[in-house]
Amino acid sequence: MASVRYENITKSFGEVSVIKGVDLEIKDGEFVVFVGPSGCGKSTLLRMLAGLEDASGGDLYIGENKVNDVPAKNRNIAMVFQNYALYPHMTVAENMGFGLKLRGKTKAEREKAVKKAAGILGIEDLLDRQPRALSGGQRQRVAMGRAIVRNPDVFLMDEPLSNLDAKLRTQMRVEIRKLQHRVGTTTIYVTHDQVEAMTLADRIAVLDGGYVQQFGTPNELYHNPANKFVAGFLGSPAINFIRCKLTGKDQLQLPDGQTISIPAERIKTAADGEDIEIGIRPEYIDVIEKLQKPESGTVIWQAPVSLAESLGSETLVYTHIGDHNITVKVTGNKNYSEDQNVILSFNIDRAHLFSTRDGRLLS
């Protein structure tokens, strides 16, 4: 087991700069998820640590060892690939034991290690099969088995669940989390699925545009996003952004013209008259019965329903204010008809304030 450190890492492919400067410190035994839209460089970051790509600049550490120039096989890492990459011409046992074989382990040692790993994953009865005779979920388990059998310092997982159907994905997600708890190996997991990121991670690194946008626990990221990108990326349904104008020192003008006062300490970093976007999560907007005079700090809106989706335990109500789409999540199974007007209410304390210009969080 080992900690992992990225120090000012950059990576370019020819002219294209993919990673523009990443610093991350991952603790021993931690489960860290790299999440971001496609093309944000999260897989590249993982592959650099694996030794499959060279860093263009910066230093990489596994434990206390700088590994920039250490070949992949000497880094003592194991990787699970998106399509599993199980060797089709080898049995499950041979697939799992291949790395050990290359490291000169005897047949008896290999068999023992493979049996043990297979036992942990519940795949003992698959050992003699060929990968093509396995289901998607079984292949996934074998790929995990191949990773744990070597007892590596770090597990690297590159979107390992994205080829599974939704139900299996949820099940395997739980298993991966349990497995990591059990073996306690430092794990870096790459995904574009924010639900996987939120549920699996001890800490999440949100990547975009070649930079780490924020690195923190799922709760920190969800409740205290560092910028508009992080706020918009995490959460399903996505956070609502509403463009407003700062008028006077502490007055915020909403798109429908009403103004609301803002505590001055929340907008100290904003320029006068700057455009501001407020971000409010769908679950923090309430649908109330009667139009009433807003209390201080509360916004009340009347909005037409364009669609309502009942998910059984909760209902998603899609409305709009002017050209701003607003999604509201209400608990329980409620019926709303299209073009019915609902009254929305939320407290500005629950909202995040971002600069429209660069998306930074205002404080």
């Binding site: 030794g51 199980l86 790395g99």
Partner: protein, 280 residues
């Protein structure tokens, strides 16, 4: 794989007629040869053209043919040539294909097309320059000389390069992480996955060089170094004078037999190989 497509009746009939015609045209000479090889010695050849056997089959022609030439020696020479070429080719095409498929070096694409260009050169054109080279090397009238021009194969390199390129990179990444160097990747991952292409190439190579006639004829003078085709030709020249078609047919059968048996045994794999390398 079963053909599950349904054809309409007229289409099925037309298909049947065309296939039958092609089969008859292609197999006709061969069938005639088989019949002739089992025919008792006749003097004059009035019933020579009959494909339908109207006699008691006899092995007399085979006996005579077997005694008329040193078939054991011819077989050994041919096997040495065919498998000598194949084993060197498998090494050279694997390395070349790996280089063209996976390594980065200047002018890679240009060099690859240049390499492929030799497929467009008709082999007989190269007979004289190749002979000169071999004489210069002091190799004329040796089996090595028969093999040498074929040690590299543009076709094999092309086939294997395409196969390597179709193998997902993830397998190699996984192998790197498992601890393979490039040679181990080739040995444990790429080559096993390219097996169908290697089998297909091997069959094509063996058949081509088993049947090769002109080049060994030019290179080999000593009878003890002749290959089957060359041996058969000199043997047939003698028999032709006497119009002994039964003898020639039997000799030809002896030359062809190993290929026929091999093809029958590997028929499925042979066809599948091409399906594999074609589709992938």
């Amino acid at each position: 794989m079963a053909n599950t497509r349904k054809r309409s009746f007229p289409a099925a009939l037309a298909f049947f007629v065309i296939i039958s015609a092609i089969t008859i045209i292609w197999s006709g000479p061969f069938l005639w040869m088989v019949v002739a090889s089992f025919k008792p010695q006749t003097f004059g050849g009035l019933d020579m053209a009959s494909v339908v056997p109207n006699f008691m089959p006899t092995l007399a022609n085979y006996e005579l043919a077997w005694m008329s030439a040193d078939f054991v020696g011819l077989y050994i020479n041919t096997l040495i040539v065919v498998f000598g070429i194949l084993s060197v080719q498998l090494v050279t095409i694997t390395l070349a294909a790996y280089a063209f498929a996976r390594l980065e070096f200047p002018f890679k694409t240009f060099l690859f097309y240049l390499f492929l260009l030799q497929l467009m050169i008709v082999p007989p054109i190269l007979i004289v320059p190749n002979l000169k080279t071999l004489v210069g090397l002091g190799l004329s009238d040796t089996l090595v000389a028969v093999m040498a021009p074929y040690f590299a194969s543009a076709f094999g390199t092309f086939l294997l390069r395409q196969t390597f390129k179709s193998i997902p990179r993830d397998f190699e990444d996984a192998a790197v992480i498992d601890g393979c160097n490039w040679f181990q990747i080739l040995r444990y991952v790429l080559l096993p996955l390219a097996k169908p292409a290697l089998v297909a190439f091997s069959i094509v190579s063996v058949v081509a060089h088993w049947n090769e006639f002109l080049w060994p004829l030019m290179v080999i003078d000593s009878p003890d170094k002749m290959t089957l085709t060359v041996g058969l030709a000199s043997f047939a020249r003698a028999a032709e004078g006497a119009a002994d078609w039964g003898l020639i047919a039997a000799g030809t059968m002896i030359v062809m037999l190993p290929l026929i048996i091999a093809f029958t045994l590997f028929q499925k794999q042979f066809v599948n190989s091409f399906m594999f390398s074609g589709i992938k």
